[in-house]
Subunit: 407 residues, 2 copies
């Protein structure tokens, strides 16, 4: 149907007009609740009034930024890319919520309600240990990144994926502006944090750091390795002790693999910093283990998928020998780790100075502790960017984090 | 109109049915001659029977490889990308023939007949000196590459260009296969040259060389810096003492800038090698000057365009300082030179072993001299690839060429 904005009062009629959804609810009257607190979209929870276990999430993009209102236009076509990417990811791994219905014209996505799962950022703020998170996330990224790259797809399939996501221009530009540019200069959108003015000034004048950031921004803009989630922070992950799901992929595009990995690492690191100032040392230890195991599991799964794919668009079987493939794979994985760490550093820094902070740190009530966390995060972010090209193995991630702890 | 294959007998009626073309010819009867000798397309020369100075070229793609016949299907949509790229290049520089009409559905392009110009490869085989070629080609590439990159365009414009060319899958795959893969392995499409078997074996076993080739192929497949011609050898250039034009851009796509530069350099280098075995030392000297001046003019023009563009999607004016911009530009240009030399090496090698040789060398009648040229080209190609990451300035191009001369 043609695009129309759904409201709490029109959602029910809309849902029951969709054959599959009406069937799901057995045509029962629905209780509708608006539950979205995100920046971008409207989100409703629809519950059957006859069977309260029958619940679905209805997400719709509106042609403006929800948190800023109609005066901040943003194309509703972003939902197109969330729909396409979730459908695609769902074919590659099990960490995507079940999708019941989607309509690119209506910018609507209807999916499983994850009532027993928590947003990972909130869980981590509350010191919840998730024993399987590192494995699940390593598995998720190994499968989505490998299987959408030219290491797996044919050349034509790979270019077709690029064509499916190249239109997600507005959201890519948001990342270019708010991850790679504004936070490192004097910009009206940055957070107003006079207590960090000395650090902001140092960074604005740090030529070597900014050379690295330009190079990483260039990778973001000009490389299309694989289909990325595009915004894989801990607020885009819903999980519990058993299961892990990824949501909110409206930033999806074909980009450098290290960007998704780096964003995730950075958000673990910021949680680690926040728990440091609270002296939650046991939880900090779990975070470091999670980082370590995540990379190990990602790397081993990615390489196992690769080794099971002797022929691809990039690496033709007749061209390589097992020895050459091994050597190329080592080089490839090292470069991927280096780029991931560089991107992680950008994400850590932009969350300190930019418009969008993380609750883990900006939510620290004590201003002295909050500033301490900000400063430690900045020190680590700079260390990650400054040294990412010297990294050789996953062990270096923890070294780069700890080097600047409590300095 | 719907697609229909033109023949020598149907071209006239087709042309006079097009208002602008009928006007160009004043509705005069036309003399039609099929002149194409390319591998891919049909090319006709249409001449007014009333005024023989009124002539146009009519180029049509057919849904198969012209040189191989209908049994080798190749999508006629390749003409779409030639049409789009030539139109786009024509807005950026003056080295594109005038386009009178184009029709993506008919896969037809009608353009200026360059009757006073010669294919550069043929001219170079005949030792013709073109005093302006280096300047014109440097100018052409600086303008087309800079102005289609994120150093000039907005982020959205840049992604739009990617979307316009991402469909050129078949021709990109031809390059992936026949430039980066088959020539470096045992493959039935390679040239049958038993006299080079020792070198082919050496290359197939040279792990370091093949690591570099894989890395360069990865750049070709996954980077979209700028709109490339995609096949910029000396057979795609028509020129005389005054003017230089580029034609045949059906391989156009958004790719790494160094690929166009490298392809051009490689074809100059192969001409230099061929004239070396014939002891045409004066002409060899002109080729080296042309290479040197081409890079100097390219680099200075590219940097001048960049310096006149203080704000772009990649380099935001508030983010950089003049000093940072200068440092980033130096790094960027050095990396571009390195990648260009790497790509040049691939092009030199694939022209020795692969299906498509160059007339400059494969056309040498004396088999001893031809083999000598092959061997020198291979030595230079390996040197270019093996050392491209150590290159610092344009002077290194000539050094890498001469190091292996007449060894």
């Amino acid at each position: 149907m043609a695009y129309a904005i759904l409201t709490a009062s029109s959602v029910e009629r809309y849902l029951l007009s969709l054959q599959d959804i009406a069937l799901f609810f057995d045509g029962a009257p629905l209780h509708i609740e608006e539950i979205g607190d995100g920046n971008l979209n409207f989100v409703f929870l629809a519950t059957s009034t006859r069977d309260r276990t029958k619940r679905l999430i209805v997400k719709q993009a509106v042609p403006y930024l929800r948190c800023a209102g109609e005066s901040y236009p943003l194309s509703k076509e972003r939902m197109t890319y969330e729909i396409r990417s979730l459908h695609h990811f769902a074919t590659l791994c099990e960490h995507i919520p079940k999708i019941y219905y989607s309509d690119e014209t209506m910018s609507v996505l209807i999916m499983e309600y994850l009532g027993n799962h928590c947003i990972m950022r909130k869980g981590m703020i509350d010191e919840v240990i998730y024993p399987h998170a590192s494995m699940h996330l390593g598995h998720l990224l190994a499968h989505t990144l490998f299987k959408t790259s030219a290491l797996c797809l044919s050349s034509g399939e790979h270019r077709h994926l690029v064509s499916q996501f190249i239109g997600n221009r507005e959201l890519c530009k948001l990342t270019e502006d708010f991850v790679f540019t504004a936070p490192f200069m004097n910009h009206h959108t940055n957070a107003d944090l006079p207590e960090l003015a000395d650090l902001a000034g140092e960074i604005a004048g740090d030529m070597t750091l900014k050379m690295h950031i330009l190079t990483l921004k260039n990778l973001f803009m000009n490389r299309n390795d694989a289909l990325l989630h595009g915004d894989l922070h801990t607020g885009s992950i819903m999980l519990n002790q058993d299961e892990t799901y990824v949501i909110d992929s409206e930033f999806a595009f074909m980009g450098p693999m290290g960007f998704d990995i780096g964003t995730l690492l950075a958000n673990f690191i910021m949680s680690w910093v926040a728990h440091g100032v609270h002296r939650h040392h046991a939880y900090q230890e779990w975070i470091l283990e999670t980082i370590e195991q995540f990379w190990q599991h990602f790397e081993s799964t990615f390489c196992a998928l690769w080794n099971a794919t002797p022929h691809s668009a990039l690496v033709s079987s007749g061209f390589t020998t097992p020895r050459l493939l091994q050597r190329y794979q080592n080089t490839y994985m090292r470069q991927l780790l280096q780029e991931s760490i560089g991107f992680a550093g950008c994400e850590v820094l932009r969350r300190q100075f930019g418009i969008a902070g993380v609750e883990d740190i900006r939510g620290i009530a004590d201003s002295t502790l909050r500033e301490q966390a900000n400063r430690e995060a900045v020190a680590i972010g700079r260390n990650l960017i400054g040294n990412h090209l010297h990294v050789n193995s996953g062990d270096d991630i923890l070294r780069l984090i700890k080097e600047h702890y409590a300095r």
